[in-house]
């Protein structure tokens, strides 16, 4: 009878210890879920997505000094539609739209993203392409360490009446797309 009681008592004690262990592990799980709430990569891609879309949007609305009353968007579309270097000739009588874009856009990228150290911190890639393979412009700077892995959203420009759009990408860390 005494042995039976002792056995019962120790079983109850063991149950108590088990319950404590379960509670402690639940608390630890709770702590871990709070501490590791949001992955850094999501925050990174959101912040740089905003910068990319704002940058490209602003760039396209900028007036060019190639010829009067043309924006960068007009020149991109002209360059994409033409088979050669573009049908628009700038005021200097020599430079065509595609060449003008190359020089000007690279200059703007270097005066902004490079000055802000985006090239040294993460690197960036600027691509203007008419799928599948007509590359209007491709520029990279810095070490493309964090590739977006093809997840980046392009800025499409209509090339009506062609059904295909001109896609413009600006990716911090690299676009990771193939064309």
């Amino acid at each position: 009878m005494v042995k039976f009681n002792v056995g019962r008592k120790s079983q109850v004690e063991i149950m108590g210890l088990v319950i404590i262990m379960i509670i402690i592990s639940l608390v630890l799980l709770f702590v871990v879920s709070i501490v590791f709430k949001q992955s850094p990569s999501t925050e990174f891609s959101e912040a740089h997505g905003d910068l990319s879309s704002t940058f490209v949007n602003t760039l396209l609305q900028t007036d060019s000094d190639c010829i009067q009353d043309t924006t960068m968007q007009d020149l991109f579309v002209n360059c994409a539609r033409s088979t050669g270097k573009g049908s628009i000739t700038c005021n200097d009588g020599v430079t065509k739209s595609c060449e003008y874009l190359n020089t000007t856009v690279i200059g703007i990228l270097e005066d902004t993203l490079n000055v802000w150290n985006v090239d040294t911190e993460r690197g960036y890639e600027f691509i203007a392409v008419v799928p599948p393979q007509k590359v209007i412009m491709h520029y990279t700077a810095g070490d493309l360490s964090t590739s977006m892995g093809g997840q980046v959203e392009p800025f499409p420009l209509s090339l009506y009446p062609s059904p295909v759009d001109l896609m413009i990408y600006l990716c911090v860390g690299g676009c990771g797309i193939e064309y």
């Binding site: 702590v31 602003t58 760039l59 900028t62 005066d111 802000w116």
Partner: protein, 182 residues
């Protein structure tokens, strides 16, 4: 008589044992309660340190929101937005208005410092085709304020800068420096 005395002694001893047992039992209960309260205090300290961690993270989020708020204030500031017959064009700033607002801020510094710009430094920089810079606002920190500044975060946002006289839309960016103060 002797038996009676012996019985009394045994009774006395038993009584003493019972007393001691009772005291020990009470002591046991008190210690258990004491340990229980210690465990509860440990739990509270643990919870407080988790709360401290999450509120530290909330503070970082609040700081980011502060930057976002400054961005929004700037984006929707009627004094400098590009407008066409009163209709707004977003992410575009009129250089004529920026220059006029510089003067307005100097004249009404307290209003803009308290209601709009707070502890920020804001400049507009033109990148293409020109290369000019306009400092819109600088916080008027005193020497004591400078000692309390704990750093800051700088942000650049690409914007369109409109030249009203040339009637051109140029590429530039706004540089916002938010100071951490206190």
């Amino acid at each position: 008589m002797i038996i009676w005395q012996l019985l009394m002694i045994v009774q006395g001893c038993t009584r003493m044992n019972k007393k001691k047992k009772a005291q020990i039992k009470m002591g046991e209960s008190i210690i258990i309660l004491f340990i229980f309260f210690i465990l509860v205090v440990f739990g509270l300290v643990f919870y407080a340190s988790i709360s401290k961690y999450t509120s530290g993270r909330d503070a970082v989020e609040a700081e980011e929101m502060n930057v976002e708020n400054i961005q929004k204030e700037l984006r929707f500031l009627s004094e400098i937005q590009c407008t066409e017959s009163g209709n707004t064009r977003f992410d575009c700033y009129d250089i004529g208005k920026i220059i006029a607002t510089q003067e307005a801020i100097q004249t009404h510094y307290d209003y803009y410092a308290q209601n709009v710009f707070l502890q920020t430094n804001i400049s507009f920089i033109e990148v293409f085709p020109g290369n000019e810079e306009w400092s819109l606002y600088e916080p008027g920190f005193t020497e004591d304020d400078m000692l309390n500044i704990k750093g800051g975060s700088a942000f650049q946002i690409p914007v369109t800068l409109f030249h009203p006289i040339d009637d051109t839309y140029n590429f530039g960016y706004v540089s916002i420096m938010v100071y951490k103060y206190g």
